[in-house]
């Protein structure tokens, strides 16, 4: 087993860790607009630019829509592009997220997950990126500032893979991760640059009949972003799905490669399980609350309860096989959702998990806990309550309430 590369421990919050990772990845263009709680990312990066520590062209765009546009256009011109946003800013980019994926531009974006208006709320929940789950971006959600740093680096390697060629969102919970100081082990810039390498471009056949790199280049003129009528559009969407399918494999590969480099891996890159192998009851969760859940699981294990946790790290593409395998023998499952889908049967993660397990022979009861909306704090005692509910459900096989609101004043 190779020795991991030399690393330095720095005190960084999630936003700073993201900014540092982007710096080390030698991004060519950053086009961004500030929004709480992502502001530290753009501010930190601006400092790097102002101090000449990077050669990045930094565009302070006049809106997030223009930020994503500029990143997309820069990426299609051959540049490595990065941006960050949250909440309303991400929502404003909505149109362009679909376009970026459709144009197969490997833009990487950090999302400091924050609640959507109305009412206005600047605190952390996952409704912003969950609302973009159909946009054709890879979604990776992190549990710590360390993982935020690691995942931004991995994101470029995933996005730029020629069989993926899709943009990647790295979600970190607003304030909980973005603004909380942590010890982060940081690689050297040279190590990171070597790890992700120069950006490779997929090839396309142009109207001149030439097979050339996908790039706006006067040497090889090509037309990007055409109108495709009903007789053509569908095939391009299928191609994006194929990119997603390939991402499942690629995310795991990059997770392993990064583990060799840094000594850190996150499950298999898609799901990260904790005490799940022999668990009778399990909670599925996305993001930083998994940290709190691990504490609760430890407590319960001490008491002899066979509790386990599945942290869903990659939400898109959905790791169906890994979910089925990991949750195969669990008697009762609770899925946590830090967002809502109004009018639906539970939240986004709940729907996806339940759907993934629907065809399995084992059909454990699966319940939903919607929690932490608008940054509402979720205490270990409340999470313990979830496990206690599961104990009851596992015993009786009966579900009192399928969709629950944890921490809501009813």
């Amino acid at each position: 087993m190779k020795e991991p590369a030399k690393q330095e421990t720095m005190a960084l919050n999630g936003d700073e860790a993201v900014a540092l990772a982007a710096k080390q990845c030698d991004v060519d263009v950053v086009a961004a607009y500030p929004i709480t709680p992502q502001t530290i990312i753009v501010e930190k990066f601006s400092e790097y630019v102002a101090n000449g520590e990077v050669q990045t062209e930094f565009i302070c765009t006049e809106s997030e829509h223009s930020a994503m546009t500029a990143c997309l256009a820069a990426s299609l011109t051959g540049a490595r592009a990065f941006t960050a946003s949250a909440s309303a800013g991400l929502a404003l980019m909505h149109e362009m997220l679909f376009v970026t994926s459709g144009c197969r531009a490997p833009v990487v974006m950090a999302v400091a997950n924050r609640a959507l208006s109305a009412p206005l709320n600047i605190h952390g929940d996952q409704s912003d990126s969950m609302a973009e789950r159909d946009s054709g971006w890879v979604h990776i959600y992190v549990e710590s500032s360390q993982e935020a740093y690691d995942s931004i680096i991995q994101a470029f390697k995933i996005a730029e893979d020629l069989n993926v060629s899709l943009p990647v969102i790295v979600g970190l919970d607003g304030f909980t991760l973005s603004h909380s100081l942590e010890n982060v082990d940081v690689l050297s810039e040279d190590t990171v640059k070597q790890f992700i390498g120069e950006r490779q471009l997929p090839t396309v056949v142009t109207h001149e009949g030439k097979t050339v790199p996908l790039k706006l280049d006067p040497e090889n003129p090509m037309t990007m972003g055409p109108i495709a009528f009903p007789n053509y559009y569908f095939e391009f969407k299928r191609q994006q799905q194929e990119g997603m399918n390939n991402a499942l494999r690629r995310i795991q590969e990059v997770n392993s490669e990064y583990a060799e480099l840094s000594g850190r891996s996150y499950g298999n890159g898609l799901v990260d399980t904790y005490n799940l192998e022999d668990a009778e009851i399990a909670v599925v969760c996305v993001g930083s609350t998994c940290g709190t859940l691990k504490v609760v699981v430890d407590e319960l294990r001490q008491e002899g309860v066979k509790a386990g946790l599945l942290r869903l790290r990659t939400f898109r593409p959905l790791p169906v096989e890994d979910l089925r395998k990991s949750l195969a023998n669990v008697a009762a499952i609770a899925v946590m959702d830090k967002s809502m889908s109004f009018g639906g049967l539970g939240g986004a993660v709940f729907c996806e998990i339940r759907h993934a397990l629907y065809d399995e022979k084992q059909h454990p009861p699966i319940v939903n806990y919607i929690y932490g909306l608008g940054g509402r704090d979720t205490r270990p005692s409340e999470l313990r309550g979830v496990f206690e509910d599961l104990i009851g459900i596992a015993k009786t096989g009966r579900v009192e309430k399928q969709v629950n609101y944890l921490g809501l004043r009813e």
Binding site: I59, H65, M96, L216, P221, M222
Partner: protein, 323 residues
């Protein structure tokens, strides 16, 4: 393509005609399309490697119907409101790649948009890109309406025009709002180059395109491009209407280098010989979108249009440098 600067660039129709088209035949624009002529000619003024980015609109749709393309240079379309933001991203990418030694030559960036993608939905991105000083030329092909989606009114539609969202109805006779003075807005950005042109005076237009490309920083060119379909005018008269627009001062031609404005020759001739200025009715006649104005109860609108034209012309001549 010639890399000569505008000062040295001495071209004839034959020079332009022998240059290969970068905007190719086979596009699906309507017969007699003004913007198509404008775009075809503008692409003749490129001076070297060029990247074009375009907003959603007539010219974008007719020239990029998958799998066909009419563009013989690198071309990008992403969405409606962001031609200037596209240009910003491309400009930044080119600068970054140059800095890192990955790009040796200079590449010009041209952003194209119709009046929809400029006056209205596109204004924010345009204003932002200009304020940030990106190096690109923004060409507005103004056919005075959202023509691609079916002739709806835009901020560039003139007072009195009938469009599908400002129809000439029994109670409201067409658009009641004035044409937004987009070039005044762009001038207020303190930008290096702002100009207006019409396709009839193609030589003037090409020189202005070239000047816009040469400027280091943002340049804005407002080109008047009649739309026979949307204006309900004869397809053969497209160029004639652009000339009439200058002769009636509906659309004067001028240029402003670092804010210093000068009338271009066709409008200068009218400023020097005011008797040459034709009444607006000469321009309105034959355009179906103004037909409803030629009734006694709507005469006041024509009068208001004339008054507005005179007022704007007066202000313009005052602001321009003397001949």
């Amino acid at each position: 393509m010639t890399t000569q600067t505008t000062q040295e660039w001495n071209f004839t129709a034959k020079d332009i005609a022998t240059q290969p088209d970068l905007f190719l035949s086979g596009h699906r624009a309507c017969a007699g399309c003004g913007p198509a002529t404008v775009l075809r000619l503008i692409m003749k003024a490129t001076r070297g490697p060029t990247i074009v980015t375009e907003a959603t609109g007539c010219m974008e749709v007719v020239s990029s119907i998958y799998p066909y393309t009419s563009w013989n240079l690198p071309w990008l379309h992403t969405a409606f409101e962001n031609a200037a933001a596209n240009a910003s991203g491309i400009d930044a990418a080119l600068k970054a790649m140059s800095k890192k030694g990955k790009l040796k030559e200079h590449i010009d960036v041209i952003a194209l948009a119709g009046d929809g993608g400029t006056y209205d939905i596109g204004l924010q991105a345009l204003s932002g890109a200009v304020e940030r000083g990106h190096d690109f030329l923004f060409v507005l092909y103004d056919n005075e309406g959202y023509m691609n989606t079916g002739i709806q009114r835009s901020g560039g539609t003139p007072l009195g025009a009938a469009t599908t969202t400002t129809p000439a109805g029994k109670v409201i006779p067409g658009k009641l709002e004035k044409k937004k003075p987009i070039t005044e807005i762009m001038l207020a950005h303190d930008m290096p180059y702002v100009a207006t042109a019409i396709p009839y005076y193609w030589k003037d237009m090409l020189v202005k395109v070239r000047k816009g490309l040469e400027v280091e920083g943002p340049a804005f060119l407002h080109v008047f491009a009649p739309c026979p379909r949307g204006w309900r005018s004869e397809p053969g008269k497209t160029l004639e209407y652009s000339k009439l627009a200058v002769e009636t001062c509906v659309f004067p031609v001028w240029e402003a280098v670092n804010g210093k404005r000068q009338l271009s020759t066709p409008s200068k001739l009218i400023a020097l010989a005011p008797q040459k200025k034709r009444p607006v009715t000469d321009y309105l006649a034959g355009q179906g979108r103004f037909r409803h104005l030629f009734t006694p109860q709507n005469q006041h609108i024509i009068d208001e249009m004339q008054r507005l034209i005179d007022e704007r012309w007066q202000k313009l001549t005052q602001k321009c440098e003397p001949a």
